[in-house]
Symmetry: C2
Subunit: 209 residues, 2 copies
């Protein structure tokens, strides 16, 4: 095995992905997002699963250029977002899942911490991107907040993974007239959410080799 | 969609996974690990990919019962490990990837931070479980440290994901006479590494409903 630098390995990986996707034509803007998710999962199903609203890439890139707050539903997704790229773009990331007040409200109201986290995020007075890789209830809460016109996210990344309520929660987002990137079906995860955020950040501020 | 408690959702998810795996017979000890990885990824390929050394489950459970240090190769895997379960088991988790001295040594020696992290972990005077979800070079370094008899891990979880050196690095671990759980092939990830650790912790200390 040759020892290569991380960026060399990444470039070679993307070459292999492109080769194995031979013949597939993607939207030019969506392509780096799709390929980064495949890079993160080694799962080519994402070439078919990922659904982009028509304006998702334009809106997300414009929002990131202005500096946004990214809200995740897991510490794991937050940990997976490239902090240097985030800083270069003048963006920040927040996750409220472990906050004491969130746990208390969830217990009081008999709803999930993920739902309470979304309500807490709705109070932030900055443009928001939601990166949801775990909790269907986060997407369900977001859908309600949007329908009630209490938030208007710059983008929803809707990629929870799992077997219960996951498919349905994603379909709710697909029906909204907002910018979204959704992994249709059961697949997704915090790693996928972080990969999509990183792909967007790298589009706005490419890394050096 | 019914709103259920997280543990109810998890139980229902495992029922669905069991139903869709109908007919598959797994080793009784390995089964909860395999199913938790499928639960984390919604990817049934792990029913075939995951390779366990003959003694992996016994050794891992015995080690966790005595209190061990789990070393990860990403902050993301560390973030995904259940901290309450870790505490109940008297275990701890460490990740050296962001340490200043690791970055400096990697630059000086022209090797990856992941490799330096493994050498740093080898200095820990406690039984170790390595949970490697990202870096093939971490596995390659571990293999060398083991062959040089500088470490004897209680378990190596070898589940990097990707297209370059990943398959080969896992095959190196499969050739060692040590306890391992390896996801053969390209697939894996920090989420898979964390899921395997959590499955082991829950076997030693089950959660309450």
């Amino acid at each position: 095995m040759n020892i290569m630098k991380p960026m060399e390995i990444e470039m070679k990986s993307f070459e292999i992905i492109s080769r194995e996707l031979a013949g597939r034509i993607f939207d030019r803007q969506q392509e780096p997002v799709i390929k980064r998710v495949i890079h993160t999962t080694a799962d080519f199903e994402y070439a078919d699963n990922l659904c982009f609203s028509k304006d998702a890439m334009d809106k997300a890139i414009a929002a990131i250029k202005k500096g946004i707050c990214i809200v995740t539903d897991t510490q794991m997704a937050m940990a997976g977002i490239n902090k240097e790229a985030l800083k270069r773009c003048g963006c920040e990331v927040r996750c409220f899942m472990s906050d004491q007040d969130v746990a208390e409200k969830a217990a009081d109201q008999g709803i999930t911490r993920a739902a309470v986290s979304m309500r807490k995020a709705a109070e932030i007075k900055k443009p928001l991107i939601f990166a949801i890789g775990n909790a269907p209830t986060a997407l369900m809460e977001l859908e309600q907040l949007i329908r009630e016109e209490r938030i208007l996210p710059a983008l929803i990344i809707g990629v929870p993974v799992g077997f219960v309520n996951v498919v349905e929660s994603k379909e709710l987002i697909l029906q909204l007239d907002i910018p979204y990137i959704v992994a249709r079906g059961r697949k997704g995860g915090s790693n996928v959410a972080a990969a999509i955020v990183n792909a967007l950040l790298y589009l706005v501020s490419p890394r050096e080799n």
